[in-house]
Symmetry: C2
Subunit: 252 residues, 2 copies
DNA sequence: TAAGATTTGTTCGTATGTATC
DNA sequence: GGATACATACGAACAAATCTT
């Protein structure tokens, strides 16, 4: 398919082979998160390789979030479920050497956030609505200092992260959550949102209030509409900010 | 922020600490892909740790695609750029234990593919247009067998992957490429697209022909429109297929 | 082609750390 | 607190890959 003339294709290292074998093993047996994997000694015997090699293999899997290990009796390696945070971090690495502008992020957000809002209309429990209100409450009073301003922006991104968490479509939810995460880091570490524009910011809060209403009443069209306005507003707010990009490595 | 009462928080393993240190080192010095990292012997001296520990640290970084190593003279560890394929694979792991239906995928595609098409209108070189045509050429003749049918569907997904590759918005491009990748794997390994519907399929090809025209002429609105129709058609084609989800582990 | 130099890859034996009972 | 079971870490030697001459 995509090979020219069977290029070099170096032999894969043994830890790598072991890691692949373990993954296949997990898939074939349909193991679930928390299920136990063979211990070190066991693997040394099974694969006929040294302890170091086996350990390196486990590190490969650990870095991907696929296994977790514990020491002590009853310890060992277990199948792990990749957390959203870890997946965010691994994905952020991909963009580290690539240029992604704020506007690039909003180009995606404008498309997906309204869709998520619409899909959520009428499907949130009163507890979930309550959670959203609780987050909103944190930025009802006007910010006085630049630090407060930043904190409020982070909270408003948390609002979107919550909506992402509530999404039934895990794919849609992940992407939105990832974007909120990136914007949060940019807000905290860079001087994003440097110049507050209070009028526009108040408009933004009104959007969220209206959005919660639409979600509660189960009006998908209105939820989509409100969120779209909200995104377009935010995008305008960010207009000057450009070229500031994702420059970070995995946190975990 | 999110801690209850400073929970256990076990001490991090040494390889993990070393990996973190190396990442910071790369970030602080602004190292670029291909840049050389200290050799094993050097690190053993710097960190005052054993060879095995250092090697495990490198494996952690390797699994994330952040470093590459080569043996022999002039070999060693180098800063690596995370490839799209690797990022796809790492991300797919996140969805392994989560339910993502075909329709979930299309809910995102319907929003993003038209946007990408519009953004690309009038910005493709004639070489790029040629590449797209070359791919399309592969499925102009009606498929006779089920295998041919599948191969054609894979090629048509390659068409979308190419558009993703051409995207100037790396974020948008990545997501679209990821979805094309997932659908390709589902097509190849599961019996997705099992029942060919020739009439709808021909419509799909016409869409792509029209799309190329719109891209060449630099008509974003038409490009968006055509792609949207194309997506809605594809979504309808997949209507019956549901619950088939991402069940696989990392490939490379 | 072949030998030597350089750097990562692998092994084994031993010792230490850590959590459970 | 002590015994147990497990991962974690060290060090020295050897193997394999690859570049240079």
């Amino acid at each position: 398919m995509k090979r020219k003339s069977d290029p070099p294709q170096r032999k894969k290292s043994r830890p790598y082979q072991v890691a692949e074998a373990i993954k296949s093993w997990v898939v074939e047996r349909g193991l679930q998160p928390g299920d136990r994997l063979p211990g070190e000694a066991d693997m040394i015997a099974r694969f006929g390789m040294s302890k170091g090699t086996i350990r390196e293999a486990m590190r490969l899997l650990q870095a991907q979030g696929l296994v977790e290990t514990k020491t002590g009796p009853g310890g060992g390696s277990f199948v792990g479920e990749v957390s959203a945070d870890r997946a965010h971090a691994l994905l952020a690495n991909y963009f580290y050497f690539r240029n992604v502008s704020i506007d690039d992020i909003y180009q995606v957000r404008v498309q997906l956030e309204p869709e998520n809002a619409a899909a959520l209309a009428g499907r949130l429990s009163s507890e979930q609505i309550q959670e959203l209100r609780a987050i909103m409450a944190r930025y009802q009073t006007p910010a006085e200092t630049a630090d407060e301003e930043r904190a409020q922006h982070v909270d408003s991104l948390l609002f979107h992260a919550k909506l992402a968490e509530f999404a039934e479509n895990a794919l849609l939810g992940f992407i939105i959550g990832f974007l909120a995460q990136i914007l949060t880091e940019l807000t905290v570490f860079k001087q994003l949102y440097a110049e507050p524009n209070h009028k526009l910011w108040r408009e933004g809060r009104d959007h969220q209030t209206n959005l919660i209403e639409a979600l509660r009443e189960g009006d998908p069209d209105r939820a989509r509409e409100v969120m779209l306005e909200h995104m377009e507003l935010a995008r305008r707010l960010m207009e000057d900010q450009e070229a500031v990009v994702m420059k970070r490595f995995i946190a975990e």
